[in-house]
């Protein structure tokens, strides 16, 4: 654990303990938090309970095995796990690897910058509030889109989808992310 860990969200602190210390207790805590959510998330798109558990298992093992790629300055734990879950879900359905971008690993030994990680936390919190303020129809639409239930065509045609509303929030975070990504190529 780093000195800054007191200021981090529990999920981020657990994830860093898994990444840097291969901490099994922290992993168990991540499992308790995310496994029920992952199972609910995967089942919402019509997957059976048994297959959903198989995917949850694969996702959580991937979290353990690829922990070195987690960079708290760029991603919230939930966002990082979301992306793993989408990839694994699709890999399982199609029995084929989905095309993924090149990985940007953090330089080994980089000290976590608590202020930056907290800024990302806060931005995500604001994004979450923005999502909660949407009317129910719009909210359902956003959920459907990120659950993978809408095609690209539907997303681009869906004028009711408040991508624009959310985009202004996203844009706030973009400058910082862009700064982060500079020099990482």
């Amino acid at each position: 654990m780093t000195p800054a860990s007191a200021d981090l969200s529990p999920q981020t602190a657990w994830m860093l303990a898994v990444r840097d210390g291969r901490d099994r207790e922290a992993f168990a805590a991540l499992f308790d938090h995310f496994a029920p959510r992952l199972k609910g998330f995967v089942m919402r798109s019509g997957t059976s309970g048994a297959q959903a558990e198989e995917i949850v298992q694969e996702v959580m093992l991937t979290v353990w095995r690829r922990a070195h790629l987690f960079d708290p300055h760029r991603a919230q734990v939930s966002a990082w796990i979301y992306q793993i879950a989408r990839n694994r879900h699709i890999d399982v359905i199609r029995k084929e690897r989905r095309p993924v971008p090149e990985e940007l690993g953090e330089d080994p030994g980089t000290e976590p910058d608590a202020s930056q990680i907290m800024a990302l936390d806060q931005e995500t919190g604001r994004l979450k509030q923005a999502l909660e303020r949407l009317n129910p129809d719009q909210r359902i639409m956003v959920e459907k889109a990120y659950l993978g239930e809408m095609t690209h065509h539907e997303i681009s045609e869906q004028t009711g989808l408040p991508l624009g509303t959310i985009k202004s929030r996203i844009r706030l975070g973009l400058e910082r992310l862009r700064h982060e990504l500079k020099g990482m190529r």
Partner: protein, 211 residues
């Protein structure tokens, strides 16, 4: 390298993040994101939203044994995952599609070459090699076409595209891309439907070359 000016549209990044984009397009988006920090940042912002949806979706209690069975597997050796790095002008995801081997070019005539990466009912994705100054036959699309420049440049009715630029062409666009002078133009191009050529000869060759 000049700055990237043609980016992945936001709806497409959202579709990619959520996994609903067909594989041929997903490969082009993954390749573009590998070259474009701006679109990577935008993609990560979409993933942040996805993470919020994951956090707030109704939970389902896992069955009793799931946790212990995952914990018991932590010491298992990880299955080998092929890892493809960028090679020359080809970003990692393109190398993955090539399975780490150099492209196998086939001539389409007039110095234009292609290397098919995949073709099925979801569409097709291929590498195109166009000699400097050469035009690609006038064509329009039944569906959507994505073209990512990996080397050189091309220009068409809609603008100028350099390394890293992504052109998104809908079925309404009938265009004649022409490679810039200088280096040959190498592109990654994906369609969800066969291209329609205006002139007779390429149309006859179409089934032959799967273009």
């Amino acid at each position: 390298m000049t700055a990237i000016t043609h980016h992945t549209p936001d709806a497409m990044l959202a579709a990619y993040a959520s996994g609903s984009l067909a594989d041929p397009f997903a490969l082009v988006v993954a390749a573009h994101v590998s070259l474009c920090p701006e679109c990577r940042a935008a993609l990560e912002a979409h993933q942040t939203l996805g993470g919020i949806v994951l956090e707030t979706t109704r939970s389902e209690a896992p069955s009793a044994g799931l946790k212990s069975s995952v914990l018991a597997r932590l010491d298992e050796p990880a299955p080998p995952e092929p890892h493809y790095r960028r090679s020359g002008v080809f970003p990692g995801p393109v190398m993955a599609a090539l399975k780490g081997r150099p492209p196998r070019w086939k001539s389409l005539g007039l110095g234009v070459r292609q290397s098919m990466l995949s073709a099925d009912r979801d569409g097709s994705v291929r590498l195109l090699y166009i000699p400097p100054g050469q035009a690609v036959p006038d064509h329009s699309h039944n569906g959507l076409e994505l073209t990512l420049v990996l080397q050189g440049s091309f220009a068409d009715e809609t603008g100028q595209f350099g390394v890293g630029d992504l052109e998104v062409a809908g079925s309404d666009l009938e265009h004649m891309p022409t490679a810039g002078v200088g280096a040959p133009c190498i592109c990654l191009a994906a369609t969800d439907a066969p291209l329609r050529f205006k002139s007779f000869l390429p149309r006859m060759l179409q089934p032959l070359f799967r273009i």
